[in-house]
Symmetry: C2
Amino acid sequence: MKPYVLGIDIGGTNTVFGIVDARGVVIASNSIKTQKYHKFEDYLNELYTEAMKIIEANDAVDKIYGIGIGAPNANYYTGMIDSAANLPWETPLPLAELVSKKFGIPVAITNDANAAAIGEMTYGAARGLKDFIMITLGTGVGSGIVINGQLVYGHDGYAGELGHLIVKRNNGRLCGCGRTGCLETYCSATGVARTAREFLETRTEPSLLRNLPIEDITSKDVYDAAINGDKIAKEIFEYTGKILGESMADMMVFSSPEAFILFGGLAKSGELLLKPMREAMEKNMLPIFKGKAKVLLSELKEADAAVLGASALGWEAKPMPAAAPATAAATAAV
Amino acid sequence: MKPYVLGIDIGGTNTVFGIVDARGVVIASNSIKTQKYHKFEDYLNELYTEAMKIIEANDAVDKIYGIGIGAPNANYYTGMIDSAANLPWETPLPLAELVSKKFGIPVAITNDANAAAIGEMTYGAARGLKDFIMITLGTGVGSGIVINGQLVYGHDGYAGELGHLIVKRNNGRLCGCGRTGCLETYCSATGVARTAREFLETRTEPSLLRNLPIEDITSKDVYDAAINGDKIAKEIFEYTGKILGESMADMMVFSSPEAFILFGGLAKSGELLLKPMREAMEKNMLPIFKGKAKVLLSELKEADAAVLGASALGWEAKPMPAAAPATAAATAAV
C-alpha cells in the first residue's frame, strides 16, 4: 500500500497542503493564496505545481494513496462545492473530480469542520472515541459529529451544521445564513466582537475596551482585556460561554456524545470561556446525562491541524468511476 | 434459521407481545396488565406463561430467533432499565438478562421510541431510508434517530431524547425531567392540553372547549373542537405545530435526515397540526436544507406498531455471554 496521503485545506485566504504518513507525521507542507486565482483552473495549476514540488522533493511520486480536501461547503457524497461565499470561484464546482483528474490520484472531500473531526479522531484528542462532537470556534461556528465511529454526513452530505442551531428564537442576531439567532452569531470570534459592541453601547461602566475604536474590536482584544481583569470583557466571555453551554446540553440529547472537542481560536480562551460553558452545560443538562460529557480541547498543533484533518480523509478516497480512464492516464503522466 | 421473533412492548399500562415473522406479519399477539404486578418476578412469570401459550398454539416452540423488547428508558447497551417513573418495579432492573434466562432465548431491548423507529425502518414508512428521525407524539415526545441505516444509541445508550430539546429558554413550561421549556411540554398530547388551559385562561373568546371542565380537557377534546371549526382549538394546533416545526428545523442541522416520521396519537391530527408544522419548519430551515426533508406519517397499524417495532429488534438479539449456560438449560426446558 502507498505510504502517504496528501492533505489540502482550502481556506478563504490560504490553501495549506502537506504530505502526511499513516501515523500523522507531516512530512512536508506548503501553502498558496486561495484568493489570488479568480479562475479555478489557474488555482488548480498552481496547486498542482507547488504540491508536486514537495512530492518530488520527498521522493513521494507514486506513493500518494489518496488526497483529502477540507473546504467550505464541500460535499463528501457529491464531491462538489455547491456554493461558498468565501471562495473566489464559480460554483457549483466539481472539486473532487477536477483535483483527481489533475493529480491522477483518488480524492475525497468534506467541509472544514468535518475534516477537523476526522483529523482529531485519527490523530488527536478523539483517538479511541466512537461518539463525539467537534465544535470549531473560529470566524464562524462549525461542527463535525461522529457517531459510532463514523462521521455523520446526513442524507445529502450537509449534516453537522450546529453553528446554525437557533439559540435565540426571538430578536436574535442576524446570521450570514439569512436567519436570526444562530449559535454562531454569539459563540464565534465575530460573535464575541458583536457582544463586545453590544455591551459597550448599552452599558456605562469603564472598560479597557473603550480605548479601542468600537468597530475594530476583535475577540482577541476582548481576551486581552479579560486577562487584564477588565470586568466587561470577563462578562462577555461569561455570556458567550453560557450560550455555548446551553446549546451543548441540547446537542447532548441528540447523540449523547462521550466528549465535546473544542477547536479554533476562541477555544484557546481557556477558563474564561470554559468555566461558564461547563457550568451552563451541566445546569441545563437532562438529568440522565449530567456529569457524563467530557469537554476536551483539540490536540492537533494549530499549524498542522487543517492539513492533518484533510489528509486523514485521503485514506478514504476511492477512484471516481467516471474519472477512471483520465485518472489512469494522469497517473502515467506523473 | 429460526423463522420468528417475539416482540414485547412494555408500556406503563399494558404489555403487548406477539410472534412476528421475517416479513413483519404478526402471527399471534396478546397482552397482560403491566401495573398488576408489583414484583417483576411475578410479572415475568405471567408474561412467560401467556407468551408460551401463543407460542405453543402456533407451533413456534424452538422457532423463536430472538426477543425484542421496547420499554421506557430501556438501555440497548446494558440491557438494563435504570429508572422509569411509569413502571411499578424496582430499578435498576437487568431486564434483558432476566427475560433471556426465563425464555432461554436471546433478548435485545431499547426504549419505546427507538423500537418504533426500528419497526418503521424494517416494516413501515422508513423502509429504504438510511437517514431519518422518528418522532413519537404521545403522552410525551420521544424520538428514534437513524443515521446511515443505524439507530443512534450514543455513548451510553440514551441518545435521541429530542422531546427534551429546549424550545423555550426563558419562562418555559415545567417538564417531568425537572427542567423547563422542553419540546414535550408543548408538542405532546399533554402539551396540547396545557396549551388549551393556558389559552382559555388568558383569553376571553367563546370556545366549545369552555363547555368542558378545564382540568379535564384532553388533546382529543381540542381536536374535536377544531374539527368543528372552533377558533381557539385551531389556534392551539397552530401554536403546537409552529413549535414542532421550528424544532424540526433545528434537528435538521444535526443529522440532515431525508425524512421525519411522525407517530402517535397527536400525529393523527392531520393537517390541523401538519400544516403549521411544515410551514414553520420550512420558514426556519437553514437555506441549504430548504425543501429537502419529507414529513411522513407512520405506516404501522396502531395495534401492531409497538409489537412490530420491538420484534424487529429481536433479529439483533445475541446470546448474553454471562447467561449462556442458563440460556442453554432454559432452551432445553422449553
